[in-house]
């Protein structure tokens, strides 16, 4: 009869497995529990594994990476800053989906609808419609059109 003598996990390894499943905030606190826990969570290999396991994009996460998109409109550069979904929450406040950091002289965000963003200018006839959608790589955007503005 072949007895199953598989190697048993050590207490250290067991806690490691458990802490890998705990949220980041709790893992951070765990370094103050005991020297054993401190050793586990301070191990760079553990940190990497924990990060890989928990850094999963989810609809509740606030992205902390930004994708800067610059669009040339009538010779002016309009930049939009788009949060890219690659990392978990770093702030409890929900960041705006879009932030126009530099919009040349006159273009500004005129309307938002179902992910479409409309940039318009009071002094120019052209409007710019920008559409974005989340993808595993971040928010990918498509510049839709520069059409005539209805007065």
């Amino acid at each position: 009869m072949a007895a199953i003598c598989g190697e048993t996990i050590s207490v250290d390894e067991l806690w490691r497995e458990i802490l890998l499943r705990a949220p980041t905030k709790d893992v951070a606190r765990s370094c103050c529990v005991s020297t054993q826990w401190r050793g586990i969570v301070r191990d760079p290999a553990f940190r990497k594994l924990h990060h890989d396991r928990h850094a999963v994009p989810s609809k509740d996460d606030v992205p902390d990476a930004l994708l800067v998109v610059t669009v040339d409109i009538d010779g002016q550069s309009v930049s939009t800053v788009v949060p890219a979904m690659v990392s978990p929450v770093w702030t409890s406040q929900r960041a705006p989906m879009y932030r126009v950091i530099k919009n040349g002289i006159s273009y500004s965000l005129a309307n938002v609808c179902n992910g479409f963003l409309c940039f318009a200018s009071w002094s120019r006839a052209k409007v710019v419609v920008w559409y974005s959608e989340p993808s595993p790589l971040g928010l990918m955007g498509i510049l839709y059109s520069s059409g005539k503005r209805q007065q």
């Binding site: 199953i4 709790d26 020297t35």
Partner: protein
């Protein structure tokens, strides 16, 4: 050709049925024998590989690291996951409910939960191991280090140097 493949499929089917109905004996470290279906036993990757390697299925498997109480509970999980189908939404929901009730019951007895976790690891029952370790991880959630020490009976053994480092980390954060 068609009849040939049909016969082969029927033979494979019969073989599958046979292996599905094969019974396997698992023996706890107290010598108590538990007879389970092969499908149930196959939840354990350790047993699965031994069966597939043509191991001694008829003689059974003694488990010197698992006591009867723990083994009975582990088998309860394996029976549910091994013997039942999980193809439809309803079947999956029923399994999810089983898992929820199963872990809720274990959660009430932390020492036993620990034993089951160790057994799940020893027998390489991935689903059960993930379930129990996640349950323990959830216990940690939102607790202060002091509360964690109390919950798991951990002794405070940080040195003055550790405390100094923690203070420093805190000021940086």
């Amino acid at each position: 050709m068609a009849t040939g493949s049909g016969a082969a499929a029927a033979a494979a089917d019969a073989e599958e049925k046979e292996s599905g109905s094969r019974m396997i004996t698992l023996t706890s470290n107290e010598g108590k024998a538990f007879v389970v279906t092969e499908a149930s036993a196959r939840q354990s990757a350790t047993i699965r590989s031994m069966v597939d390697d043509g191991g001694c299925v008829d003689k059974g498997f003694p488990l010197p690291n698992v006591d009867s109480k723990t083994l009975a509970r582990v088998i309860q999980y394996c029976d549910e996951h091994g013997n039942k189908e999980a193809h439809t939404v309803d079947e999956r929901a029923a399994l999810a409910k089983f898992d929820k009730d199963f872990i809720a019951e274990l959660d009430a007895d932390k020492a036993f939960l620990y034993d089951v976790t160790m057994a799940a690891n020893y027998l390489h029952i991935q689903g059960l191991f993930a379930l129990t370790t996640q349950c323990i991880a959830d216990t940690i959630k939102g607790k202060t280090p002091e509360e964690i020490r109390t919950a798991f009976g951990i002794e405070y053994d940080l040195t003055a140097q550790d405390e100094e480092e923690i203070k420093e980390e805190d000021t940086h954060a």
